[in-house]
């Protein structure tokens, strides 16, 4: 770990002021950035602790929820309104990490966690364009079981590791940020980016911008939703693939649907193609599979992850089948 200064922000304005300098990083629960600092992947020279900022979960005028960025993951997962109105979010959070880590981790930090690509972590022995731009990517032809099949580039095949973000992508959450140029909101799907030729940039945040809150818009049928994660052991492993889905039936047909995949791309993957195939169509196993297949039509599997499109297709079909029958509600 490289020596650094620790500063604690009193309020958002203070945080933005302290976080403006190059080399500053915001500190939430520290469950990811501290690991990255120990491994010298991250070497901030100042850490601005923002855990003293808003951690409240409040009802919004439009019938949604506003979650302060400093809210702990556990608090969100256990919140009554989240559990009843957005169960996929609660389940996604509980599918991740361990109880101890969830107790520490913050919502804002969860959005900004970095990939688990092992080449990204290996500062001594591996090339990584995300960690050291322009050096190359050893994951493309190396161990890439947990890597992307959608939206990757020659420069980077990493995935975003968050569970919670997959649910937020399905829910069309809105990210509130504040920075040197003032406050703004970002649609959740526009927060994270695909790697392109700048895989060192995970998000569209401007330098110094701080996430202050996440807004969950009202979504009536989110009560009929689920999150399913598939991994290499029963707990405490990152997703090979995960699926967040919410379904509204209209008689025998699908009224509306929201789908996002985790573990398949550089960002939580909102499955708009699959949704379009399904909306207004029949609620059949064949339709569910066809929707997933449409989403993964452009998949480019790597050496170790060719199973992902079929796995994601199966899981989506099974989940939608259950949701259509109200089994998971």
């Amino acid at each position: 770990m490289t020596p650094f200064r620790y500063l604690r922000a009193a309020d958002v304005a203070d945080a933005v002021k302290l976080g403006t300098d190059d080399g500053a990083a915001f500190l939430g629960g520290g469950t990811n950035i501290v690991d990255l600092m120990r491994e010298t992947v991250a070497r901030p020279d100042r850490l601005v602790d923002v855990t003293g900022l808003s951690d409240t979960i409040t009802e919004t005028a439009d019938g949604g929820l506003l979650i302060g960025a400093a809210a702990r993951n556990t608090a969100v997962a256990e919140h009554r309104a989240v559990r009843t109105r957005y169960p996929l979010l609660s389940r996604a959070i509980l599918a991740g990490a361990s109880a101890q880590i969830r107790n520490m981790a913050t919502v804002g930090g969860n959005l900004l966690q970095r990939t688990r690509c092992t080449y990204f972590y290996d500062t001594d022995g591996s090339r990584c364009n995300k960690r050291a731009p322009g050096t190359g990517c050893d994951a493309r032809d190396g161990f890439n079981r947990i890597h992307a099949v959608l939206g990757a580039s020659d420069a980077c095949v990493a995935t975003h590791p968050s569970d919670m973000c997959v649910a937020l992508a399905a829910l069309d959450a809105v990210v509130h940020v504040n920075g040197p140029d003032g406050a703004r909101t970002i649609a959740f799907d526009a927060l994270h980016r695909l790697p392109g030729d700048r895989p060192d940039r995970d998000t569209m945040l401007a330098p110094g911008e701080l996430i202050t809150a996440i807004a969950l818009p009202p979504l009536r049928f989110a009560a009929n939703s689920a999150y399913r994660k598939v991994r290499d052991r029963a707990s405490y492993a990152f997703a090979l693939i995960s699926v967040a889905a919410a379904l509204e039936m209209d008689g025998d047909r699908i009224g509306d649907v929201r789908i996002a995949f985790g573990g398949v791309a550089h960002k939580p993957w909102r499955a708009t193609r699959a949704e379009a195939v399904l909306r207004g169509g029949p609620a059949t196993h064949a339709a569910y599979r066809a929707a997933a297949e449409a989403e993964f039509e452009t998949a480019r599997p790597l050496r170790d992850n060719a199973f992902k499109p079929e796995l994601a297709t199966r899981v989506l079909a099974a989940m939608l089948g259950d949701l259509a029958m109200g089994k998971l509600a």
């Binding site: 092992t118 080449y119 591996s126 190396g142 052991r233 199966r314």
Partner: protein, 779 residues
């Protein structure tokens, strides 16, 4: 050459002396264990009573001091830097920033390290336990990707870690072999393990296979595994007046002290090595580069050093289990009788060690069969030296053999339990020796009954929602070993009308309960209560050498205590003199009873230890004695066995496997302490679940680098992966071993991977021959 030396070498496989030919033919009574240990017949003593570990309380209270918890005045902290190429030379070292970093005391590389001898590599002499035939920090050569090439000492661990991250190295890479295909192309050799070729040929196995009416002939693969003991390797090291003191985490205190002493030209008495607590061993807590580098740095800096490997450091410095590619072919008649078994294949080691994964060891005594070919060959790669890992050989060898038997049972339409019992041998089929104790059929029958094996359905038949349910079974096996060199020192100390005893053995307690078991055995042998027994261990200054390896430590300690007890009885009789009720009796006439000695056939003739000592005006008496040479393992075929049953649920949507029930039915001689034994068996089974379903070292074949050196990315079972584990045992004493016991540290892992794979076949109809069985293989 003395008989003891001959026996030592024969037992170690260093020579094929006359002893190996004569011992099998000698009368039983000439052999240790030829007359059953009297403790076997003692029915109502401490042996067999479940007792908690003696070190439990101090560990729970945090009072047990592990290697990285010793503190010395002026101590500094070490951090290592590791090579990033598989083979070549270091051409430049940029250490300016590291040397200037806050708190840095020393940056040591091959350029300024003290001159040291090459540590003796394991097997090169009876006491050498070096991990590789390589000198350490003596030249610019890189032998594996991850090799420690520099050490930083600083006032705090954080400062040392930071400074180490500032070191930069330039290399001149040289041609290297880091892929399996290249290694095979470079040449394949006969594997040699502990001085013996891993090769058996009986009859003509290939010809018999060609003629057999029923045949399975399959290839199985197992990957590399890394050690993940909960305590990362650590040592606190200092020099005192030219002598070396190491607080280490060690499975082999004496041999380790001797090997590291020779590195620094020290005499045996000039190395103090203690290891009272070890946070998990499994074969990895031996001598690796870090202790030698730490000692060198302490010498150069003139300060005590705390050397703690990070988890990544353990992966870069401490070897694990190597990969295997195995062929198992079995030919059988329609009634299931085996006519031929071929178990052969390849494992990988390095140019600088000699450790094939001996996966045929468990096959040698396994099944009656007239034609047998067993062979392990090796190829070499530039990588960290592989090493022992819980049941080296049997853990992965049983996966292949016991999977193939399941495949044959399917082909024959026979129950796999019945097929195994059908081929039960009446003597060791490869050595021809009689078995000392073998009750595997009992273990199979009692296990099948308790598990409910009869409820097993046809492949793919049982379903519970998305989950396909199946049952599988396999035999586990591990030999009884007893290594030479063990000694025990017994001291009786008079306290008024009673005595207490101190029993000292140069053994290691890695958390499995050795100190407790030693106290139980000592109390029974001396006829004292447990609270009168103190056990000393984990210190190289104790006479003798006992390794906590090969599941042999309890037998080695037991035999040494027998020898020391015999010597103690003789000494006490001398002290007793003519005024004692025991006057005139010889050591053969008396035994220990109720805190003293008594005539065996006339227990009224007795005197307490305290009385004997008091009359002789002695406060204490000490004897030290060496165990008998371990000839019994050349005279009998000595093995433990298990029948493993498991039930799995395989998700039809995702391919995820969950083991829902598992039972181990063990035949391991007499169980000394059921409480700690149960934990040992369970721990082994859990490790077997990891072996079956998730453990795999990601070794990047492009550059020989381990890519998942962390507990986050190298998967071992978490609590949710582990079901209720049922453990039962036959508890038949082996009449030819101390206390009738067998070692039980390793057998638990064996057979588990095959039982899981066979259950997955029963659940899904899919046969996976390539570990680990990850979900993508079942989609």
């Amino acid at each position: 050459m003395s008989i003891v030396d001959t026996a030592k070498q024969a037992a170690q496989g260093l020579v094929q002396g006359a002893m190996t030919k004569l011992v099998p033919l000698a009368p039983d009574s000439w052999i240790p264990g030829g007359r059953p240990d009297p403790l076997i017949d003692r029915k109502h003593g401490l042996i067999g009573t479940p007792l908690s570990r003696r070190d439990g309380a101090v560990k729970v209270k945090g009072e047990a001091r592990f290697a990285a918890e010793f503190r010395h005045e002026g101590m500094v902290y070490a951090a290592l830097a590791h090579a990033a190429i598989p083979r070549g030379r270091i051409t430049e070292i940029d250490s300016a920033a590291a040397e200037a970093a806050p708190g840095v005391v020393l940056v040591m590389t091959h350029r300024n390290a003290p001159r040291m001898n090459k540590p003796g590599v394991f097997g090169s002499s009876p006491t050498a336990v070096g991990s590789a035939d390589l000198s350490i920090l003596q030249d610019d050569r890189v032998h594996w990707n991850g090799q420690p090439i520099a050490c930083v000492l600083a006032e705090t661990q954080e400062q040392a870690d930071h400074a180490a991250s500032l070191l930069h190295f330039s290399y001149a890479a040289e041609p290297s072999t880091t892929s399996l295909d290249e290694a095979k192309a470079n040449g394949i050799e006969q594997g040699v393990f502990m001085g013996q070729p891993l090769l058996n040929r009986i009859g003509d196995a290939e010809a018999a296979l060609a003629a057999a009416p029923h045949v399975v002939d399959r290839r199985y693969r197992t990957p590399r595994h890394n050690h993940n003991a909960i305590e990362p390797h650590a040592a606190t090291i200092l020099w005192v007046d030219g002598e070396l003191v190491i607080h280490d985490a060690s499975q082999m205190v004496t041999a380790q002290a001797q090997t590291i002493g020779a590195v620094f030209d020290l005499e045996p008495g000039q190395v103090t090595l203690t290891s009272p607590y070890v946070g998990g061993g499994f074969g990895c807590k031996g001598l690796w580069d870090h202790q030698i580098i730490g000692a060198a740095a302490a010498k150069l800096a003139g300060r005590p050093v705390r050397m703690t490997l990070s988890r990544e450091g353990v992966y870069r410095v401490v070897g694990g289990r190597t990969l295997t590619e195995q062929r198992v072919a079995i030919g059988a008649s329609a009634d299931g009788a085996f006519d031929t078994i071929i178990h052969s294949g390849l494992s990988i080691m390095t140019p600088h060690n000699n450790m094939p994964e001996p996966f045929i060891l468990g096959t040698r005594p396994a099944y009656a069969c007239p034609n047998i070919t067993l062979q392990v060959e090796v190829a070499r790669m530039n990588m960290l030296a592989n090493t022992f890992m819980r049941a080296p050989g049997e853990a992965v060898g049983t996966f292949a053999l016991e999977s193939a038997i399941d495949e044959l049972a399917v082909d024959l339409g026979l129950d796999p339990v019945a097929l195994r019992i059908r081929n039960e041998p009446d003597k060791d089929p490869t050595s021809g020796l009689p078995f000392s104790s073998r009750h595997i059929v009992d273990a199979w029958r009692s296990g099948a009954e308790r598990f409910g094996w009869a409820a097993r359905g046809a492949p793919g038949e049982r379903r519970d929602g998305e989950w396909q349910v199946g049952m599988g079974c396999a035999t586990g096996t591990y030999p009884y070993y007893r290594m030479p060199g063990a000694q025990a020192r017994i001291t009786l100390i008079r306290e008024g009308k009673a005595v207490r005893a101190k029993i000292e053995v140069a053994a290691a307690e890695m958390g499995m309960g050795t100190a407790t078991t030693t106290a139980i055995v000592g109390a029974e042998r001396l006829a004292l209560s447990m609270d009168r027994i103190e056990v000393g261990y984990g210190d190289a200054s104790i006479p003798g050498a006992i390794m906590a390896g090969g599941s042999q430590q309890t037998a080695a300690i037991g035999a040494a205590i027998i020898a020391a007890h015999n010597a103690l009885v003789a000494e006490l009789l001398k002290l007793a003199g003519n005024d004692s009720p025991l006057a005139g009796l010889s050591a053969d006439d008396v035994g220990s009873e109720d805190g003293g000695l008594a005539k065996l056939d006339d227990p009224d003739r007795r005197e307490s230890y305290a009385s004997i000592l008091a009359r002789a005006q002695r406060d204490s008496i000490t004897v030290t004695e060496a165990a008998s040479p371990p000839l019994e393992q050349l005279h009998w075929s000595m093995h433990s066995h298990s029948a493993i049953f498991c039930e799995v649920r395989v998700n039809a949507v995702t391919g995820e496997t969950r083991v829902s029930r598992i039972l181990g039915s063990f035949d391991c001689g007499r169980i000394l302490n059921p409480k700690t034994a149960r934990s040992q068996f369970r721990g082994g089974i859990i490790m077997g679940l990891g072996l079956a379903l998730m453990e795999e070292t990601q070794f990047d074949e492009r550059n020989g680098r381990v890519m998942n050196p962390s507990l986050a990315e190298y998967h071992i079972p978490v609590h949710l992966d582990v079901p209720e584990i049922d453990v039962i045992w036959t508890d038949n004493p082996d009449p030819h071993t101390p206390m009738g016991a067998h070692g039980i540290g390793e057998i638990g892992i064996t057979g588990v991977a095959a039982a899981v794979a066979n259950a997955i076949y029963n659940a899904t109809g899919k046969r996976i021959r390539d570990l680990p069985i990850t979900l993508d293989k079942l989609l």
